[in-house]
């Protein structure tokens, strides 16, 4: 799973609600939900230091 360009995004209330990224070149919106396999993989790569999630704009 090649994950690039990860960044948090906020909802209308100003709360971080999702992570935007490209997976194998396709835009994905990934909820902050443990058990979602994409979120779990993002956190695994963050923990091992191979991926950084940019802050929300």
């Amino acid at each position: 799973m090649n994950i690039t360009n990860a960044r948090y995004s906020i909802n209308q209330d100003g709360n971080v609600s999702i992570i935007y990224c490209n997976i194998d070149g396709v835009h994905h919106a990934i909820p902050l939900a443990v058990g979602n396999r994409h979120y779990d993989e993002i956190m695994r790569q963050v923990d091992e230091g191979s991926l950084t999630i940019e802050e929300a704009d």
């Binding site: 799973m1 999702i18 994905h28 919106a29 979602n36 396999r37």
Partner: protein, 369 residues
């Protein structure tokens, strides 16, 4: 043989008649993502065609294959899952492998009573066919407790039903939740890291890599190789029963707990037609938001993805708009909140209607294990 004897032989030894199959889409009838994907093999772990059935690869596989939903099936079935080797790999590195696999939530496995003194045997049956005689392994892996048991099975050039009974395991209970507790691994290619030991087939034991798949053939041995599987059933007890067929709508609904895809379609009667998007509202001059329920409650909050933003067109105030961003701002098991950003501008407060502008348009939700 008397009819009473035939009836008795076809009844499950444990549990109910309905819903005894713990496998969703065992008849390979639903393929929301695609019916055929070519060139798989390198870093190919993922879901591609038939719903719920995942490919996992590891190591430096140079073999390649096509995965498809096939109409070649045994009597009484309409479909099978087909793997077709397109590039051979006869120099097998120790750490490489190719698996067809299936994951099951722990809350759907409580009937097995694993990890208790009442633990049950489990029987897995399926129909299989290949271009030649091979031996492959089906490993029953307890993902919660790292315990496993593997069974070898043969293929022939005809459709045959394989029936494998796995022993009761009084060690290690399954979590009663929506996480992956069992993983069924069909080992069809592997190096010595996974084949160098002795097959762990008589009891569940802590997983040891070398004992997972000794004795298997290699699916990558020739570009002539084809493998077909369908009618996969997993049930409690030592006896297999006839495959539990169900209406395709029931199977689709079960599959949509894990994945939902909406495609452009000229057939508006198609349940997965995406010829319109739910109505949205322009929040300001560039951003619109909307919300919609999902077709089916999903296992967890799903990942949203879609075809490129320029494969969609939006209408408001009598004009069409191309968007630079088509995405979700949040998702939950029941719903998703959508977000669109126009390349131009629109007026806050107006309704916004969207539809696909390309035959390749789609959006999808993934809550797979």
């Amino acid at each position: 043989m008397s009819n009473a004897r035939k009836l008795a032989d076809n009844l499950p030894t444990e549990g109910s008649l309905y819903g005894r199959n713990m496998i969703v889409n065992g008849s390979m009838n639903v393929a929301q993502r695609s019916t055929s994907v070519t060139g798989l093999g390198a870093n190919a772990t993922g879901y591609y065609t038939v719903d719920r059935w995942q490919i996992e690869t590891g190591g430096s596989n140079s073999g390649r294959f096509t995965m498809s939903q096939s109409s070649d099936a045994p009597s009484g079935f309409g479909n099978s899952l087909k793997l077709d080797c397109t590039t051979a790999d006869t120099s097998i590195a120790a750490g490489e492998y190719l698996l067809l696999e299936y994951h099951i939530e722990g809350q759907d496995l409580q009937r097995i009573k694993k990890g208790t003194s009442d633990a049950e045997e489990v029987t897995i049956s399926f129909y299989v066919k290949a271009n030649a005689a091979f031996n492959f392994v089906l490993e029953f892996y307890d993902n919660d407790n790292n315990r496993t048991c593997s069974k070898l099975f043969p293929t022939t050039t005809s459709w045959n039903r394989v029936e494998l009974t796995y022993p009761a395991d009084t060690t290690g209970a399954f979590g009663d939740d929506n996480a992956s507790s069992v993983r069924l691994f069909f080992w069809i290619h592997a190096g010595s890291t996974y084949t160098g030991g002795t097959l762990n087939s008589s009891a569940f034991n802590t997983q040891s890599s070398a004992n997972r798949a000794p004795g298997i053939s290699s699916f990558y041995s020739s570009t002539n190789n084809e493998l077909y599987i369908t009618g996969v059933q997993m049930e409690v007890g030592p006896q297999s029963t006839p495959f539990e067929h169900e209406p395709v709508g029931v199977t689709l609904s079960k599959c949509q707990r894990y994945f939902q895809k909406y495609n452009y379609s000229n057939d508006l009667s198609s349940v997965t037609s995406a010829n319109t998007l739910p109505v949205n509202c322009c929040y300001n001059s560039t951003v619109a938001y909307g919300g919609s329920k999902l077709q089916q409650e999903m296992r967890t909050s799903p990942t949203f993805s879609a075809s490129a933003a320029n494969t969609w067109v939006f209408y408001t105030e009598g004009a069409s708009h191309v968007v630079s961003e088509m995405t979700a701002y949040e998702t939950g098991p029941f719903m998703w909140g959508m977000k669109f950003v126009t390349s131009g501008s629109w007026s806050a407060g107006n309704a916004l209607y969207g539809r696909p502008s390309s035959t390749s348009s789609y959006y999808q939700f993934d809550a797979e294990l």
